[in-house]
Subunit: 500 residues, 2 copies
């Protein structure tokens, strides 16, 4: 997930100064209201050394009534604490109803610093995840709001900040040997962070990644997230109907949405290749895929290749090139349309389970179960509860598939809004392509931004270590086709290599 | 859990004939209503060979509209099925909204027969539990009702039934070599069943154990359970207020309550020992406990000994004898009373986490976190949702403690209602004991049966392999004291032995 975070986000001083007073006022209001309603609130700050946790916590505290919160700095466990289960010391610090507990680092130390420094065994570290999840679930079940921040800066920025601190004699003491040791292990840490995010990003206590290269941006995003989360809780408590609550939220958190890292925005769509290169590569990869299909068959490896993407992004043409050389007895293309009546009368995953390929076979899905968090979410075909729940459901299903040995390759075929427009127009102008463009396409296009939000969240919440997304830059159809074929080839080769 | 099931339960033919028509009519009604409301229903039948699954399923089907259900017999997976994740074939058979799917054996084969016959590796078997739980949770989250029966008979009864079948030429074919092989492995199976019940008894899909030695009893309990569960779902869907729904249920399921296996009813309270024996044993065990306290201290083993029991069951006197010889620096007695204001403002487990002993120390709890599912449940101090949720929360906490290495010993000190009455009266008649008896004690006594139901459910749902209950027959105070001391000694010795 971290590699998808856009660390270039910035807020100008003027914009910052303009927003902060309103936010401070709002936070004060919300704190009072939450106190009245006796809502306990936990705010967790995790993040890289020198990412600015201390500064952020201070900034947040200033805006709040000091009688209502406690800040808990987390040091390595002392002797008393080591003699008890690791969550003991955090249980003791859970806030009373109506109070806010801020944790400067937290129980996640168990799976971060203690893991990296080999203080805990790998086995115990893995055992800690379910304990952490049940801790957080037990608290939220009784009404606690848990807000978890991970303050993210990249390795260079960390180095720059350490050096800056060292230059000034009054701050030099802040940079310890330990800090430099951690810095050297940045990549190892990053892996641990990824695992932590994957195993503990739950619907009851989700993580928010804070792009912390720019301090002003980080502050505003933290303020906005805290405000929106508390506001949502207050709304669900005071307004029994879920629907109206979510409406109020979406209104109040417009600025928050703008602050969410867009994975799509970072994609470089100018990338392309020449026709000659295309023809040559295509031939090469198609040949290789034919061989690999056979290898997978012999080794009884089940394979799922799935395509999601914008209308007219070129999924169909892409799939055509993929299967060109393949033996039709070994693969199947499964186009997914709107569910029929029987399918609607089952769990939404039911119809996809039907099509799970058997070992040795390849299933190619043209659109998939991700419809739940794309079209069904945007068009309101399912409730907010339902699509929010489905990130976990989808991850569970994909984990079961990969546990079974399935190779799962997921493509998001990406084009720009401008490219889509010119393709739509071209379709309308070409008689034999007119059937490809419908009123619905135009309607969907109007909701481009809503879809974009949904896609970004999907890419973030369902990119897992066992089943990552590959984003395909598809303004150039040639480039897109080669990239998907290449990805399929390399993923299968890697998997077969491992099996040897 | 299984050893606590009372297999002597019987229903007379006349009583059976009286109840069945009403139940059949009711089931028909509920089926129609569920269809209208589009509720999908899954009924799982697991159980011992010859426990009567087939008969029970037939009996159940007769009462229902055949257009509304499907029976799915579960055979060993065929080749097609083996080539896919094991839940695939069950996903395909999940019922449409408004329909009932009955499973004659099910996905639990993975952790029962396939485990025993070593078709799956131990690792894969353990991995199957979370997959099963997420399967059932995903379905219930979308509105499916899941009813799971385990039909229980003991080893002798199984043998008797096999022999009976063999006698009759027309049924002899039903008893296969495989059946006899399973019969011989009855105890190994029983262990697998225990593990299965423990890992998959969830609030969204709980197990119901059917005492199946008597066919009539089994039929009535199954009918009643199906009816009550569907009725509850219908009520929660048609009546938004949870409270009124639960009232209707408790009214309609009175007969079901009566059919629940009472663990307490099976306890032989006539058991006692002589004063001489008592004095001798007491001395012996107190001496040994002193030594073991020291051993636990040196080995840094944390120990929790907890007492729950009826008013005047003798918890206090029991604890007094337990600690008589102990070094007060190594143990602490923690009496639990009603929570104070600060405690009430936290998660109900918070105040108990406070008192978790450190490694090498012994914490003795006089009443505990089980108050949640006893007094708080019976007196309505918490909602039904809350106490139902807490079985899992308590099991999670105890598992975390035992994972950490804590030895957890749980006593239910049990007396009969008559014995309690005579003790209450004796207290009132003895001036220096009058403080021990309050109006509240008399009030609680009036709710004896409600408490009994709560205790039975507590013993059933929180007796786990990592932390089982010990029921102490306490009509004889002498016997009770020796039994608790002996249990403490033996449990600690076993634990220390394992550590060596």
């Amino acid at each position: 997930m971290l590699e998808n975070i856009d660390l270039t986000k910035k807020i100008k001083k003027s914009g910052y100064k303009e927003q902060i007073p309103t936010l401070e006022y709002k936070l004060g209001e919300l704190q009072r209201k939450a106190r009245e309603l006796k809502i306990p609130i936990i705010i967790v700050f995790e993040g890289w050394d020198a990412a600015g946790k201390g500064t952020m916590i201070n900034r947040l505290m200033i805006s709040m009534d000091p009688r209502g919160y406690t800040v808990n700095p987390t040091n390595p466990p002392n002797e008393e604490e080591l003699l008890r289960p690791f969550l003991w010391r955090f249980w003791k610090k859970t806030p009373e109803r109506g109070r806010i507990a801020i944790f400067d680092r937290s129980w996640y130390g168990k799976v971060l610093v203690e893991k990296i420094n080999k203080i805990v065994k790998k086995k115990d570290c893995l055992a800690a995840y379910p304990e952490i999840c049940s801790f957080e679930r037990q608290l939220t079940d009784e009404g606690t709001v848990i807000i978890k921040f991970f303050l993210h800066i990249n390795k260079n920025e960390q180095k720059r900040r350490f050096k800056l601190l060292l230059k000034n004699p009054s701050t030099a003491w802040k940079v310890t040997k330990e800090d430099w040791k951690h810095h050297k292990k940045y990549d190892e840490y990053a892996k641990a962070v990824e695992e932590m995010l994957e195993k503990t990003d739950t619907e009851y206590a989700p993580w928010t990644i804070i792009e912390a290269n720019d301090r002003r941006f980080a502050t505003l995003k933290i303020f906005n997230t805290v405000a929106a989360t508390i506001e949502q809780k207050i709304n669900t408590m005071t307004q029994p109907s879920n629907k109206s609550a979510s409406k109020i939220i979406s209104k109040s958190s417009v600025s928050l949405k703008k602050m969410t890292s867009s994975i799509l925005d970072k994609i470089d769509l100018s990338i392309s290749i020449s026709k000659d290169e295309y023809t040559e590569e295509l031939k090469k990869y198609q040949q290789r895929i034919m061989e690999l299909e056979h290898e997978a068959y012999i080794r009884r490896i089940p394979v799922i290749i799935l395509y999601e993407g914008w209308d007219s992004a070129g999924k169909g043409g892409n799939i055509k090139r993929l299967v060109r050389g393949m033996d039709p007895r070994g693969y199947q293309v499964i186009p997914i349309v709107a569910p029929n009546d029987i399918e609607k009368n089952h769990h939404y995953l039911w119809r996809f389970w039907e099509h799970i390929p058997k070992s040795g076979h390849i299933a190619i899905f043209d659109r998939t179960w991700y419809g739940r968090v794309l079209v069904e979410r945007v068009e309101g075909y399912c409730s907010q509860n339902e699509w929010k729940r489905s990130y976990r459901e989808i991850n569970e299903m994909e984990e079961q598939l990969t546990n079974f040995g399935t190779v799962l390759i997921k493509f998001w075929i990406h084009i720009s809004a401008e490219e889509q427009l010119s393709r739509f127009k071209a379709r309308e102008a070409t008689p034999h392509k007119q059937w490809k463009i419908t009123d619905e396409d135009w309607r969907n296009r109007k909701k481009w931004n809503q879809y974009k939000t949904a896609i970004d969240e999907m890419l973030f919440r369902t990119s897992t270590t066992y089943s990552p997304w590959t984003i395909v830059e598809a303004n150039s159809k040639f480039y897109a086709r080669i990239k998907t074929l290449k990805t399929v080839v390399e993923t299968l080769e890697k998997h077969i290599e491992k099996e040897r």
